[in-house]
């Protein structure tokens, strides 16, 4: 998975952990909720201006990018978030340079190649995928506006050195991206499907890969 080989220097941000107590409710779970459909590319045909159409298509695609299943592993710091409310991952996980966690508490210490059902808990499963890992630091999306995420996605220094064509392939075929629509019991999926999402990304590229203002 090319995305994981991005050779970008990463600064571990442990300082945000420490002994801080986050104010407000700490941990909560939303039930699985259908996020509904994703608009088809044809739904944007009425927008005559190509640039405007491109921007609108990205806005629609961003409903996936900013969904908790995706953005929880594109955090602002090197620690993932989790749950529908994007609370800090419990236990504390520091992704480390590999984005796979330090040996000793790697992602694979808990996350397997598939979602793992668990019994007796409010949590119904532990999510998993063969490539389970955090996005590289360069791909931190949390806290960004959609327009900023868009600029980042296009920037080869911050997208794993992907061409536009690579982006379509990545979004459309990557197994870990695809996991988002099969998140296991107890978690909501982003809207649409990987196919409709990939079609939007392709249409966005085709229309000039314009970013929302």
């Amino acid at each position: 998975m090319a995305m994981r080989f991005a050779a970008i220097a990463i600064v571990s941000v442990l300082a945000t952990a420490g002994t801080f107590v986050l104010v407000g409710p700490l941990r909560g779970y939303a039930e699985t909720s259908g996020a509904g459909a994703l608009k088809a590319v044809s739904d944007f045909d009425t927008i005559v201006d190509t640039r405007a159409r491109s921007k609108a298509i990205f806005e629609e695609a961003s409903r996936v990018l900013t969904h908790p299943r995706c953005i929880n592993c594109h955090p602002a710091t090197r620690s993932p978030t989790q749950g529908e409310d994007k609370h800090p991952h419990v236990p504390l996980v520091i992704a480390s340079n590999s984005s796979l966690g330090p040996l000793g508490l790697a992602c694979s210490t808990c996350h397997g190649p598939e979602n793992r059902p668990i019994v007796g808990s409010r949590m119904k499963s532990i999510p998993g995928n063969a490539h389970w890992s955090l996005a590289p630091a360069s791909m931190a999306w949390q806290g960004l506006k959609v327009s900023e995420i868009c600029q980042q996605v296009k920037d080869t220094s911050r997208n794993g050195n992907r061409s536009h064509a690579d982006l379509i392939t990545h979004m459309g075929e990557d197994h870990l991206v695809g996991w988002a629509w099969h998140p296991g019991e107890g978690r909501s999926a982003p809207p649409g499907s990987q196919e409709t999402f990939a079609a939007l990304v392709a249409a966005w590229v085709k229309t000039g890969a314009e970013c929302p203002d």
């Binding site: 571990s12 442990l14 952990a17 419990v90 236990p91 504390l92 996980v93 520091i94 480390s96 966690g101 330090p102 040996l103 000793g104 508490l105 790697a106 694979s108 210490t109 808990c110 397997g112 190649p113 793992r116 059902p117 668990i118 019994v119 007796g120 808990s121 949590m123 532990i126």
Partner: protein
């Protein structure tokens, strides 16, 4: 179905479903009770064992995922250089209190030192944050890991 497991160098044929967590096969079927049940959802680390050298939470790992890979538990971790050093440091610092979480703590600490022979405080936090101790042995765990690192 029957699963073939290699645990601490010994082969075991166990007749359980492949989705039964490894923890229960180790504890109940094989009888290695040093590995502990604490939460069942990979939140506390008490059940940590090494599979193929990687620490895993055996309470959520289906036994089927461990087939064909060497499993090491607390009962045999002292056979590794790092494990022996960690255990000696645990005795030297007298880390344990109730002791229930300590198998998991030692398995995590051993994995930490195997990968990182001289961990900083932040490195220790990044690995050991996955293991809960209700007796509050954390300060001594930190001291023991540093002692074990020095002995390496």
């Amino acid at each position: 179905m029957s699963q073939n497991l290699l645990v601490n160098g010994t082969n075991y044929a166990v007749d359980v479903d492949d989705d039964i967590p490894l923890l229960w096969v180790l504890r109940d079927t094989i009888g290695l009770t040093g590995t502990k049940f604490g939460c069942g959802i990979a939140m506390c680390g008490a059940c940590t064992v090494h599979v193929d050298g990687i620490p895993v939470r055996s309470c959520v790992m289906p036994v089927g995922d461990a087939v064909g890979k060497p499993v090491t538990t607390i009962e045999a971790i002292g056979d590794t250089a790092e494990g022996a050093r960690v255990q000696r440091a645990w005795l030297e610092i007298d880390v344990v209190q109730c002791g229930y979480c300590q198998s998991g703590q030692i398995m995590s600490a051993t994995a930490l030192l195997a990968a990182n022979p001289s961990p900083t405080d932040d490195d220790i936090d990044a690995v050991m944050a996955g293991n809960i101790c209700r007796c509050g042995t954390y300060p001594r765990i930190r001291a023991a890991i540093k002692l074990a690192a020095k002995a390496g």
